[in-house]
Symmetry: C2
Subunit: 179 residues, 2 copies
C-alpha cells in the first residue's frame, strides 16, 4: 500500500495513537487503512459415501484437487458464501449442514471455514474456476494431489469422524511449512 | 475507495473479466481492489457461575456492555486473536475453551466469533477501550444495555446451554434491524 485510497496522498507506516501495531496512515486526510484476514468459505458436498472435489482451473495450485470454496464477499453470511461457492465452483445443488472446520492460516492472513453439505441431485459439473468436478470415495481421495493443507486437514477430520458416526467441529491453525 | 492504493491513479467500479461482482479496478496498473468481510474475535470469560463483561470506552456504543472482543489482525489465528482481545479489553488471563458462536452480520460486512474461556485469576480490569470490567451472574446481565446483538445472542445461547449442561456451537446470521 503506497497511496491513500480515499484522497490519493502517499501513506506512511506508523502506529496510530492508542494503537499498538503499525498501520498505513494518510497524513493528508487522517484515514487509517487497516488490513485484516480474509475468510474462505466452502462445503464438503456429500452423496452417499462419496464427496465432491474440484480440480482447480486457476492459480495457485492449478490442476490440484480442492473442496468447492472461495473468498467470502461483503454483504453475505458465512452460510450464503459457502453455498454460493459450491454453486460457482461445482454447479452443485446442496443442502447446507453443520459447520465442520475452521482453520486459521496466519502466515497468509486467511481463515478457511467448511460446512458439511448434502448433494440434492447429480447435476453438478465444473464452473469457470474448475477443470473437473468428481465424486470420490475415501479410498480414491487423491491425498498427494490436494491443493491446500486446509483441505487435507478437513478431509482427514471428516473421514475420521465418519468412522465414529459422530461429526464434531474442528478448529485449529495451520503453521507455515518449512523446507 | 477513490484512488489505487498501489499506484495512486483513480479507480473505477467495474466487473473484472471472469468475475460477477463490481470491484474497484485501477486502469493504470490493473490492480483489482477486493473488499471482504472482517472478523471480530472474542471470548466469554467464565469464573464460577459468572462471566466478564466490559463497558465500552469507545464508539460505537460508548458506555454499553460487551464481551471482550475486537478485530482479528493479520498474522494471527482466531484463537490468538480471541486471547489478545481478552487481554487488551479486560486485562484478563484466561484459558481458551471451545469455539462457541459464529454469527454473520452481513449488512456491516462482519463475522463475530466467540470462544468460551476460563478466567485463571481475578487480576482483571479495564484496558484502554473499556470504562469498567465486571463479573456478572446471569441474573445481573444488563440485557437492555448490551452493545451489540451478536453479544445478546451469544449470551442467550450461553445461558440456555449452561442450563442443559452441554455447550454446542451456535452459528447463524443477524439481520438488519428495521425501525
Amino acid at each position: 500500500m503506497n497511496f491513500c485510497s480515499n484522497c490519493g496522498a502517499t501513506v506512511a507506516l506508523k502506529i496510530p495513537p492508542g494503537d499498538n501495531l503499525p498501520r498505513h496512515v494518510c497524513d493528508a486526510c487522517n484515514t487509517i487503512h487497516y488490513q485484516n484476514p480474509r475468510m474462505i468459505l466452502g462445503t464438503i458436498p456429500e452423496y452417499g459415501d462419496k464427496i465432491i472435489l474440484c480440480k482447480r482451473a486457476i492459480e495457485p495450485r492449478y490442476g490440484k484437487w480442492t473442496l468447492p470454496a472461495g473468498f467470502m464477499e461483503n454483504g453475505e453470511s458465512t452460510a450464503e458464501a459457502a453455498l454460493r461457492e459450491t454453486r460457482e465452483e461445482a454447479n452443485a445443488n446442496v443442502e447446507l449442514g453443520e459447520l465442520f472446520s475452521m482453520l486459521s492460516v496466519p502466515h497468509v492472513h486467511q481463515v478457511h471455514i467448511f460446512y458439511r453439505a448434502t448433494l440434492i441431485d447429480l447435476n453438478f459439473g465444473p464452473g469457470e474456476e474448475s477443470l473437473e468436478v468428481e465424486l470420490f470415495s475415501e479410498a480414491d481421495i487423491p491425498w498427494s494431489e490436494l491443493a491446500f493443507r486446509t483441505i487435507s486437514t478437513t478431509l482427514q477430520h471428516y473421514f475420521d469422524d465418519r468412522k465414529t458416526g459422530r461429526f464434531a467441529l474442528h478448529s485449529g491453525s495451520i503453521a507455515p511449512q518449512h523446507p
